[in-house]
Amino acid sequence: MLEFRNLRLTQGDFTLTADFQVPKGARVAVIGPSGAGKSTLLSLIGGFEAPDDGDILWRGKPFGLSAPFERPISHLFQDNTLFAHMTAAQNVGLGLRPSLRLSKSEQSAVSEALRAVGLEGLETRRPGALSGGQQSRVALARVLVQQKPLILLDEPFSALGPAMRHEMIDLAKEVSERLGATMLMVTHDVSDVDRFADLVIWVEGGTCQPPRPWAEMKADPPQGLLDYIGT
């Protein structure tokens, strides 16, 4: 379980607050207008920003000021989620060993993960020689080998066309199911939410509302969501 306890971060005249729990294994969409604080919330969970007050707890233990790599988290960033100078296999291998000194069994785990996302035979390609969709697949293969119980996705597929994006969201969903991981994804598109989310965190003006089931929220949307969707 992921818990936000009186979390608060102030940057200039912007203040982000969150105080709720996210159940284990949930697939959560984080939605809200631009500048509302969605990415900041993910930065706080990831340890790239430190809160002014409160804490985030994972299975009852506070993260405190632990470094990003000490947290049980896999990331998919919006851009630059792969190193351009490394091959697909190296990019995945980093998830096992940052030094890239992989044992035989670790190397086969990398190949296995690439096969699982449908990239068999493309191990030695660099990101520049892969399509946008294939790059996303490499990043998801890394999430697979990292085997972390929490996956954070910050608009990871926004550069892809709608059909490809849906395909990638399905794959991400599959990966999280396979790992039994909790997944939080920032998105702009309500159709993405339909596709994968059980729960939705609505963020507006820095206030992160407790997660609600998507079906329930659609039936009784907050005014901000109506304005956001434009209906």
Partner: protein, 514 residues
């Protein structure tokens, strides 16, 4: 407050900063302690101060003004060899000063063909020594720099402005008033200030073309106080005056925006609609031809006359070449280590980069004087000549190298910092797997630059070296002094080849994909 993880230890940067500060500011302190009172300055010393400022003003002014028509021609014309010419404009930066000086002598000197042509036409040949020679050499070095700076200004004008001008039927005068003039007004002062600064610290030019009461710069006076009188007190006082001149020039240049000399925006000519008139074509052709000849003829002269002497070089030249190579490689290694440590720590403490930049206003002669005084107390400075040369050259190249490596490092951290942090790529692993591959290009370029600059250095080494342990540029200077011009030309060709080869090899290494 935002919380940042620092993936790499910060102490190497602090050590590097301390070293650079000791060299640029510490030597200044030593010099200040050692300096005599101002009353000991003779009339000739004050003439040197005046000459330093006046020649730098004229050189900078000429370079910047002449660069305007050249840059405009290059900006609006596309022709065969345009890219090559623009690349060539960057060459004087790594060209050893002594080579250019010999080349200019071969073209404009007493027996050069310009003089022969002038004689033939019944005119007085120009004198390459003294005032004219110093200005000529400075314009040779800085006209290309000014041209590149202004060319970037032209490149930065949005193409919509030229389209708008065409649709409003601007005359060349309107074009200048509304579009080109404002750009030049913004860029020219910065270019002028930078070139002024360069011209106050170009010791090698003053050493070879200057001299005598009417054409001695402060740096040359420092050297003479050292070499001829061994008057360290007077050398120190002159060094302080040099520092004041540099500091004022550097302060002024900070007031203006100095555009970066990078590759961006230089490769495409600006699309314009007012260029088809015959008169405009003629003007552009004239200026492009003139600057090409001015740059190429001296180099061509070195190649032609040097090829003749290069197979007939005495052994002393070859051993000097070896010493220069070792010094250049050492200097490049030092420069890269210093700049990488500084830029890594500057991600946390911005001011560290400022310390690395202090060398831009420093004079190698002042640094040399300070180091000499310190070393003189404990050892024979001549024993340290090559090491000191490598070190001072490395520090002098830092301002340029930091501008190549610093932004590349910042970009890499901005792009891959979070990803690296989240994957636990820390410390040495981070350097090996992320930073090094991403920085390979700028590091190769910088190492080439530092090596070439050190290879051609004729500054500190002149203060320190013994007669039997000269570097190649110093050896060439001595050959010139004893009128063995064929050997000097041959050795210059060797030096030119070595400098360009060093730069090219490092740069190529940087560009090769890992």
């Amino acid at each position: 407050m935002a919380h940042r993880v620092f993936a790499i230890r910060l102490w190497p940067g602090l050590i590097a900063a301390a070293l650079v500060a000791a060299l640029s500011l510490g030597t200044l302190g030593v010099v200040a302690l050692r300096a005599e009172s101002f009353s000991t300055l003779s009339k000739f010393d004050w003439m040197a101060v005046r000459f330093t400022v006046v020649q730098a003003l004229i050189s900078a002014g000429l370079s910047v003004i002449l660069a305007v028509p050249v840059a405009r021609g290059l900006a609006r014309r596309d022709f065969y060899g345009r890219r090559l010419l623009i690349t060539l404009l960057g060459a004087p930066f790594i060209l050893p000063t002594i080579v250019a000086i010999l080349g200019l002598t071969a073209v404009f000197g007493k027996t050069g063909f310009v003089s022969i042509a002038l004689n033939w036409a019944g005119l007085e040949p120009i004198s390459i020594y003294g005032f004219h020679g110093v200005i000529l050499a400075h314009v040779f070095f800085n006209l290309p720099l000014a041209t590149r700076l202004l060319l970037q200004g032209w490149g930065a004008i949005p193409s919509e402005r030229f389209r708008l001008a065409a649709s409003l039927n601007f005359s060349p005068r309107d074009m200048f008033r509304h579009i080109e003039g404002p750009m030049l007004k913004e860029i020219m002062p910065g270019a002028f200030a930078v070139i002024f600064l360069i011209c106050t610290t170009s010791f090698a030019v003053a050493l070879t073309f200057g001299g005598g009461p009417k054409a001695t710069t402060v740096e040359l006076a420092i050297y003479e106080a050292f070499r001829y009188d061994f008057n360290l007190g007077k050398a120190s006082l002159l060094a302080l005056i040099q520092v004041v001149i540099c500091a004022v020039a550097a302060f002024v240049s900070l007031k203006f925006r100095v555009p970066q000399v990078g590759g961006a925006g230089l490769d495409r000519p600006v699309q314009r609609f007012d260029v088809h008139k015959l008169s405009a074509r003629g003007v552009d052709l004239f200026w492009i031809m003139m600057v090409s000849l001015f740059l190429l003829l001296p180099l061509l002269a070195i190649v032609l006359r040097g090829a003749y002497g290069v197979f007939d070089l005495p052994i002393s030249v070859w051993s000097a070449a070896l010493r220069s190579l070792v010094t250049a490689l050492g200097s490049a290694a030092l420069a890269i280590i210093l700049s990488l440590s500084l830029s890594l720590s500057a991600l946390r403490w911005r001011w560290l980069e400022g310390i690395g930049m202090t060398a831009i206003a420093a004079s190698p002669l002042v640094m040399g004087t300070g180091l000499y005084i310190v070393l003189f107390a404990v050892a024979d400075p001549a024993d340290w000549a090559l090491f000191i040369t490598a070190l001072v050259n490395a520090v002098m190249s830092l301002p340029f190298i930091l501008r190549a490596i610093g932004p590349a490092l910042a970009t890499t951290e901005r792009t891959y910092g979070r990803l690296s942090d989240s994957l636990g790529l820390m410390g040495w692993t981070r350097v090996r797997l992320v930073l090094w591959p991403r920085l390979r290009g700028p590091v190769g370029f910088s190492a080439g630059l530092a090596a070439a600059l050190s290879m051609g250095d004729l500054g500190v080494i002149a203060l320190f070296a013994r007669p039997d342990s000269a570097t190649l540029p110093l050896q060439i200077y001595r050959l010139m002094g004893s009128y063995r011009m064929d050997q000097a030309m041959g050795a210059s060709l060797l030096l030119l080849g070595l400098s360009l080869a060093l730069f090219y090899i490092f740069d190529l290494w940087g560009r090769r994909r890992a």
